[in-house]
């Protein structure tokens, strides 16, 4: 049987001189009908460019195919080389025979057109449907991706739908004309983990329904375990290894594949938690940070004079304590209030109620110390691009009345070395560093003031997986060395498993489960925790079927004066308690 798609010695370059500037070098693979190929790699590996070359969208991004062939077997069984096709032919193939979905559902749909119009367009272009017929077809397409109330949603514009919904719409568009090949370029990366599980489930189901082939591009090798038949691993523009799913996962040959599988955090249901620095049971030491009844509310204003008519209960009664040398991970999905909690601890948002106490530790004379410091999610946004590294590191010292003297400079150099950055970094600017390096800079900056607590707000989420692993290692080392307490905010269970001693699961502004990391991860008690953990993709759970669940996160807007009922807790074991739902 001739494969549906046969890519042979594909080379793609960019710029004025594409031959000299190749980002994909000699990639070959075959894809049979109904097969799913996962292309796995980190940023810059050329995986997306490879995908975009297949339907030649790479042309519009300034790329050019400099060699090789991409042969598509068309519906009439003729073989068609996409690398040499002219644009008019390509427009007939795109959408009709090759569908594609992208990473960012929020930006991939035209913001000014209704989703109905955007779905109908596919039918109009390839099926010649117009008017009511097209609308009916669009409604069917939405039904197919399990969007409830499809007829009404057709009139929505993208801004009225959540990310998960939008990705379903994207899938509906891509599959509208039943293409035999679907290219999914990191379709779940921008989504919450439970939503990701939904989308994965949907893709798997649709694939079964239609028998289409799929190319699934991802940086997360754990994610493809549930859906792929074959895996192609890319690094630096080359395909370093490819083969059957089980073969790659169980018996990787290439060192990079091994690295991806072993060095990178994968969720292991509590089996990979830290063994060191467990909380002692006697509780004699004073906590590094204690948060009591933290409440953060944002007024909702309306009316001509902007009177508050309600409040968003972003954080609604959160208590926890954090011992020196301990990591408390706060996990939850977007909108759960985990970042607001962190920001409230730092005083970046004004807390409505609640108390904090943080232990100030003794420091060298002349150097002030703020007990709590923070490392932010986006290493590209948290360093002022116009300041040199020296100025950036000096800022906390200056802010606390210190001076940039020899001592400070010495400290900078030491810290830079300690976080693994070259010594000449001081005179350089942030843009000269990679994402991982920048995050190391942020960590160094946070340590300039000898804090006792470091708040890490999704501190590794924006990094490539292998970089993530190394930064996590660094964090663990630093924690041991300086006795730091970490408040680790994350949505990523795999990462949390590697660093947390304790975990607090936050949902709708409230902690629903808190306790020892191993205990919480291996024996989740609260339904939400269970759901969250069930949604985490793991290498262990191959070809597992996910349940589709279209429930939405409840609204956090409450009427004025609303107070939640006080929490009741069930204790499970020495350090594991779960909120009792009313």
């Amino acid at each position: 049987m001739i494969p549906l798609l046969s890519v042979c010695d594909l080379r793609v370059g960019f710029g004025r001189n594409p031959e000299a500037n190749e980002v994909v070098r000699s990639v070959s693979f075959d894809l049979a009908d109904g097969e799913t190929l996962a292309i796995v790699g980190e940023s810059g590996s050329g995986k997306s460019v490879t995908a975009l070359s297949i339907n030649r969208l790479v042309d519009f991004g300034g790329g050019r195919i400099t060699g090789g062939s991409i042969k598509l077997r068309r519906t009439d069984n003729s073989i068609f080389d996409l690398t040499t096709a002219a644009e008019p032919q390509l427009t007939k193939i795109r959408g009709a025979e090759i569908g594609m979905i992208f990473q960012e559902p929020m930006t991939s749909l035209n913001p000014v057109l209704t989703i109905g119009t955007q779905i109908e367009e596919s039918f109009r272009l390839h099926r010649g449907l117009t008017g009511r017929q097209a609308t009916a077809a669009a409604k069917d397409a939405l039904d197919r991706v399990r969007i409830p109330d499809a007829a009404r949603r057709l009139k929505y514009t993208p801004n009225q739908l959540s990310g998960g919904m939008l990705q379903r719409v994207m899938i509906a568009i891509a599959l509208a004309c039943n293409p035999r090949l679907l290219i999914a370029d990191e379709p779940t990366t921008a989504l919450d983990v439970t939503v990701q599980a939904q989308i994965m489930a949907l893709l798997a189901e649709l694939k079964r329904e239609t028998g289409m082939s799929m190319i699934f591009i991802t940086h997360d090798i754990g994610l493809v375990a549930g859906i792929a038949d074959k895996i192609l691993v890319m690094q630096g523009g080359e395909a370093v290894e490819q083969g059957e799913l089980n073969q790659i996962l169980d018996n990787p040959q290439h060192p990079y594949t091994k690295h991806l599988l072993h060095a990178v955090p994968h969720f292991a249901s509590g089996r990979a938690t830290r063994a060191d620095g467990r909380r002692e049971s006697d509780r004699s030491t004073e906590p590094a940070l204690k948060v009591d009844g933290l409440v953060v509310r944002f007024p909702v204003k309306s009316g001509l004079f902007g009177r508050a008519t309600g409040a968003v209960h972003a954080v609604d009664g959160v208590d926890f304590d954090l011992m020196p040398g301990e990591t408390l991970a706060i996990v939850g999905e977007s909108g759960s209030g985990k970042s607001t909690t962190a920001r409230a601890v730092l005083g970046l948002v004004r807390s409505t109620r609640g108390t904090f106490s943080a232990r100030i530790r003794k420091t060298a004379a002349g150097q002030g110390a703020l007990p709590v410091q923070m490392v932010f999610q986006n290493p590209y946004a948290s360093l002022n691009p116009r300041l040199s590294i020296a100025s950036i590191l000096a800022e906390p010292v200056i802010a606390n009345g210190g001076h940039v003297n020899a001592e400070t400079r010495a400290k900078m150099t030491t810290l830079l070395k300690r976080v693994g950055l070259p010594e000449n970094s001081l005179e350089r600017y942030p843009h000269e560093f990679s994402g991982g390096q920048r995050q190391r800079l942020c960590i160094a900056r946070a340590l300039m003031l000898n804090p006792s607590v470091v708040v890490l707000d999704e501190a590794v989420s924006a990094l490539d997986v292998s970089v993530q692993a190394r930064v996590l290692e660094l964090l663990v080392d630093l924690q041991r060395e300086f006795g730091l307490a970490y408040l680790f905010i994350s949505h990523d269970m795999a990462v949390v498993e590697r660093i947390a001693h304790r975990i607090a699961v936050i949902y709708a502004g409230q902690i629903v489960e808190i306790g020892d990391a191993t205990s919480v991860l291996s024996q989740p008690k609260h339904p939400y925790t269970k759901k969250l953990i069930a949604a985490v993709p793991t290498i262990d759970r191959r070809h597992e079927r996910f349940e589709l669940d279209t429930r939405q996160v409840p609204s956090l807007v409450r009427p004025l004066g609303f107070e939640p009922s006080p929490a009741k807790w069930d204790e499970f074991g020495p350090d594991h308690k779960v909120r009792v739902e009313a």
Binding site: N55, L57, F60, G61, E87, P88, L90, T91, K92, I93, R94, G95, A96, I98, G99, M100, F102, E104, T107, S108, L109, N110, P111, V112, L113, E121, S122, L125, H126, T157, P158, N159, Q160, M170, I173, A174, S302, G303, L304, G306
Partner: protein
Amino acid sequence: MNYLMRRLATFPLVLIGVSIVVFVAIRMVPGDSITAMLGTEAGLLTPQQRDALAAYFGIDQPWFIQYWHWLLGLLQGNFGISSTYGKPVLGVILERFPLTLELALLSMIIALVVGMPAGVFAATHNEKLSDLGVRMIAMIGQSTPNFVLALLIIYTLSAGFGVLPAMGEFSPLWQDPLRNLGQLLLPAVTLGFAFAASVTRISRSAMLDVLSDDYVRTARSKGASARSVIWRHALPNALIPVVTLSGIEFGYLLGGAVIVEQIYALPGLGRMVLDAILQRDYALVQGSVLFIALNFMVVNLLVDLTYVALDPRIRLREH
């Protein structure tokens, strides 16, 4: 709705600010209605004569009392009486306004009809020779002072072809459409030239931005043709900056195009205000500046409302 109400609520505030500024400023300018009428002959007046004239022009009291009276009148819809026209200010303004409005509209139509396709064309031929050509013309358009263009047009037409648009009296559109268009076309072209150039430049850069957006890639992945991608998917998204620019420019044009009106001898708002200032027709200056400011604010509000119509993502909020 709430947003609209709140925006409208700031109007009186800004208008009071504008009126106080203009009220004080025009009175700070040396010379008054009397010297404006009599010139150096004003020196022949006896003090009693001066007082009588000051009372006649209503400038015999401190400015804040004058302002108070004027404000009270305004609340009753009375903008005062123009000293040069001897007629109610509002009537004078409304008589001049159709021309200014029509001229502004015509210029904007010319600018959009010429500028948008040119900008889209340049964006889709990015960095090719034709793009450079369009950009060069647009640059020249933006760089030509409009009085130079106006004088050149008039000179070329009258000396070279012996024709010229009718000058002086303005024929309203509803009375004599042909004559009206004949009168306004050249001034509109004069104003529209630089306007079109700005529109070209901004629609080009907006298109370039939009063409690299994700949803354009999505449209292409659906198999949409190049034309459909440009006109159906990209252009509506590129309109916001064009609307912003056109709105601002239109808002300014509604304030009258002093120099072009002067050269083409069009009795528009701009010249009226200029003359009113030169003749120290205080009531007319105050009334018309207020009117122009109100227009400007209304146009700005309309621009904001247009955003909402164009882009469902935009919610009306303060700022």
